[in-house]
């Protein structure tokens, strides 16, 4: 329990400090927020004063900072300059496509990554090892926007196999590949190396000499331990998936949080940018926390440490 509580305690200040950074950076952006809110519409002094009050800009910075933190925790971060709708509502509306995309990318990345990693790791320095690792290298070297466009070009425009617009399952395939490719590459490499390490361990050699089949060895004994390092990779990769959404949603013209963030930045819609960054940071930190917890559960070393403590 100590392990989990310690992690939790670190996370909360991290979140609030991150949010502080967001507040500071976004509130020093040049440009009168009142003008931005009005969208350049001509307005009398009175109207401008009202807008200023609505945005809370007439209060001192310290007060605004505190209410910002409180609101961020509550999940209410004001209204978008652009649409005048509550930003939380806009986030909710655009959340699902991004989540679908992230899950799609995750699934693709995990399956293909682990698959190629196993192919390579079970016979190191063989032809198939080189083959799998070259593919993995391609995965981490391919710019996702290029591969996305190439996929559209080949499978959409030229072959016509996949619809280009549309919001169903089929339309998720190409974007998921695009988002998950980098992840798959990293997963493959890490799975391979940790599998090689584990397979070299004495207890595995013992099992082999006892005559257990390779299959048995791989699945029952080594994989579980071999997967420990890749799990840690998940945490970092979550960040990639979230932000990969920005590019992939742009390339595939899909709705979602990534596309919303990009539009908000270009339109200087500060409340929306703020809310999105706050939200994404919270999700990222939270997901990493889960990964850390999982690590704590499956890594026998930490498990034992916990028990003794």
């Amino acid at each position: 329990m100590n392990f989990f509580i310690k992690k939790l305690i670190i996370v909360i200040p991290t979140l609030y400090i991150a949010w502080t950074v967001v507040f500071v950076t976004l509130n020093i952006i040049p440009g009168d927020p009142v003008n931005l809110m009005l969208g350049g519409r001509p307005a009398s002094e009175e109207v401008r004063e009202n807008v200023r009050k609505n945005l809370g800009l007439d209060k001192p910075v310290a007060e605004r900072y505190v209410s910002f933190l409180i609101n961020a925790t509550k999940g209410d971060l004001g209204k978008s300059y652009l649409t005048r709708q509550p930003v939380t509502k806009m986030i909710k509306e655009n959340m699902m496509p991004t989540i679908q995309l992230s899950i799609g990318g995750l699934i693709f990345g995990v399956f293909f990554g682990v698959f190629f990693g196993i192919i390579a790791g079970t016979k190191p320095n063989s032809m198939r090892d080189t083959f799998a690792m070259v593919i993995a290298l391609c995965g981490i070297s391919l710019p996702s926007f290029w591969i996305g466009m190439m996929l559209i070009f080949i499978f959409g425009t030229t072959l016509g196999w996949v619809p280009i617009v549309g919001e169903g399952f089929v339309s998720l395939i190409l974007p998921s590949i695009s988002v998950g490719l980098f992840f798959a590459g990293g997963m493959a490499r890490l799975t391979r190396s940790s599998l090689v390490d584990v397979l070299n361990q004495d207890y595995i050699r013992t099992a082999k000499s006892k005559g257990l089949s390779t299959y048995n060895i791989i699945l029952k004994h080594s994989l579980r331990n071999a997967m420990i390092p890749p799990v840690t990779l998940l945490g970092i990769q979550f960040g990639l998936l979230i932000t990969g959404a920005v590019i992939t949603e742009e390339v595939f013209a899909r709705p979602g949080l990534g596309q919303l963030l990009l539009q908000a930045i270009l339109a200087k819609d500060i409340p929306l940018v703020q809310a999105l960054v706050v939200y994404m940071t919270a999700v990222y930190i939270f997901l990493n926390l889960i990964v850390d917890f999982t690590y704590g559960i499956i890594d026998p070393r930490i498990r034992l440490e916990r028990k003794s403590a």
Binding site: P42, A43, M90, V165, L266
Partner: protein, 527 residues
């Protein structure tokens, strides 16, 4: 087989829009451009042609106009103009209701126009279109008299403009200006239903509609039961969606695709040449290198507009030459004699002005370089083309592709050397918007005189032209205005604006609204 798969996938994957096999009169329109940032659907406030794409189907005007600019009775059955040109008496229809059930009457007309000139409303377009508006008087329930301060020659055309659509005062009361912009209430053939920011806007048929103008086919409720505007920013996605049958109509289809559709006949196309301001460049006369008129002239001479337009538009748009497009009334042919493509002439002008060619291909004078900061909001490829030509004679044009928010920022801060603009309008009176000195932007006051040019002579001409008594005087005054603008080299037309629309061959009745940009969907039907 492939088409079948596509249709199947289309049905299976469309969760928001209505599919092709649904009610035959359910239409999906793709509405877009690179700016899905619709802000308001309030005709009194907007000056965005994209917002007007929807507004034009939600609202009606006092006087109706077809795409050729002919006037017909609209919400007003007939109208009289006083002999001094100051009073316009409208006899209104008595059978019209707003989408919220309230009656359309003279009080609604008064409320609409009075609110437009009220600074609280923050009107960006309508207030200028109303011109020298003084007041509206409710003579009786269905008679309204609009009075102007001075003779306003463009008045009748103004009343056909979308920005002067009549809004429901009850809804305004209830929702306030902000709320109304998000949930508009008018008298048009379609009612507002729903708006998913950055995704789509849904309209539904107004079943009580019975007052379509006579140039339309039919007068009762539209055959289109729902109208969905899907915001698809990316051009190739737009086109792909149209070709896949996932949407029925697409605007701003790239010229190459238009060419392909015209050749194959798979999709029908219409191209509208817009009247108003063509795609043109303002040069900022108050800062930087463009303060010198000879540098401005040199810049204009360095551009080969005809070639540029052909190269980028493959025949779907023509080069333009004057501050207003050739299809706008009172266009002056003399515009076409100015600023021919003349590289040698441009270079000579620059040399004379003291700008000597530097070793890096950029001209210099007194240690300063001939740089031009060019924030580009519209048509990045055209901006790059302009940049290419100007750089050849020794300018150093820095293009920054911007969105509206950034451009607005730069306008307020006077931080640009040139900007591009285009404007849909039916009347040369639009020229007052970018050229009168009262329209020079300042922090907090967003206006369109982006050349920041102030000249009392031009101001006077613009005001006089507005109140011109006869068509001859009007034409003569606008000729002088155009000549002045061209002489001063503050505004150069590049090409005509065109609206390229492609749509499913099963549809007919797709037509442009007046101005040739927006599409009226009222009498669209399946063949």
């Amino acid at each position: 087989m492939r088409k079948l798969i596509k249709y199947f996938l289309g049905i299976a994957t469309l969760t928001f829009s209505f599919s092709f096999f649904n009610t035959a009169y359910s239409l999906d329109l793709v509405f877009s451009e690179d700016r899905p940032d619709l802000r308001t659907l309030d005709p009194r406030i907007t000056q965005s042609r994209h917002e007007e794409m929807l507004i034009v189907n939600i609202f009606d005007q006092l006087i109706a106009a077809d795409s050729n600019g002919n006037h017909y009775p609209g919400l007003a059955k007939k109208w009289d103009v006083s002999s001094d040109g100051l009073e316009y008496t409208f006899h209104l229809r008595d059978d019209v209701t707003f989408h919220d059930g309230t009656k359309f009457n003279a009080a609604a007309v008064k409320a609409t126009f009075d609110s437009i000139v009220d600074p609280e409303t923050g009107s960006q377009g309508a207030v200028d279109i109303l011109g020298p508006y003084a007041s509206t008087e409710v003579i009786d329930e269905y008679t309204a008299k609009v009075t102007f301060n001075r003779r306003y020659g463009s008045a009748l055309t103004a009343f056909t403009e979308t920005e002067l659509s009549i809004v429901s005062p009850t809804a305004l009361e209830k929702l306030g200006n902000e709320g109304f912009g998000m949930a508009p209430v008018g008298t048009g053939p379609f009612k507002f239903k729903n708006w998913e920011a950055n995704k789509k806007v849904e309209l539904v048929r107004n079943d009580d509609y019975n007052w379509a103008p006579e140039y339309m086919d039919g007068s009762g409720p539209s055959q289109v039961s729902t109208l969905t505007y899907r915001l698809i920013k990316d051009t190739s996605t737009r086109v792909a969606a149209l070709e896949a049958g996932e949407v029925h109509i697409a605007e701003l289809v790239p010229p190459l695709d238009m060419r392909r559709f015209d050749a194959s006949g798979d999709l029908k196309t219409i191209t509208g040449t817009v009247s108003g301001l063509p795609y043109a460049a303002f040069l900022n006369t108050t800062v930087g290198v463009f303060q010198d008129i000879n540098v401005r002239k040199a810049f204009f001479h360095s551009l080969d507009r005809v070639k540029m337009t052909n190269d980028l538009f493959f025949g779907y748009a023509e080069a333009a030459f004057g501050p207003i497009s050739s299809s706008t009334p009172s266009y002056w042919k003399g515009n076409e004699d100015y600023y021919q493509y003349d590289v040698a002439g441009a270079e000579a002008l620059l040399e004379e002005a003291g700008w000597k060619m530097g070793s890096d291909g950029v001209r210099e004078k007194n240690g300063e370089k001939l740089t031009v900061f060019f924030p580009c909001l519209l048509e990045p490829d055209t901006c790059v083309a302009i940049q290419g030509y100007a750089n050849k004679v020794g300018f150093d044009v820095n293009v920054e592709v911007v969105m509206k928010a950034r451009q607005d920022e730069l306008i307020f801060a006077n931080g640009y050397d040139m900007l591009v603009i285009r404007w849909v309008s039916l009347d040369p009176g639009v020229l007052i918007i970018p050229f009168h000195s009262r329209n020079i932007p300042e922090p907090g006051k967003f206006k369109f005189n982006w050349a920041r040019y102030a000249n009392s002579g031009l101001d006077q001409l613009l005001e006089d032209a507005e109140s011109a008594e006869t068509q001859e005087t009007k034409d003569d005054l606008y000729m002088q205005i155009q000549k002045h603008i061209m002489d001063q080299a503050i505004f150069l037309a590049i090409h005509d604006q065109v609206q390229t629309v492609a749509y499913s061959p099963d549809l007919e009745g797709v037509r442009f609204a007046n101005g040739n940009w927006q599409l009226r969907m009222y009498d669209v039907r399946n063949k």
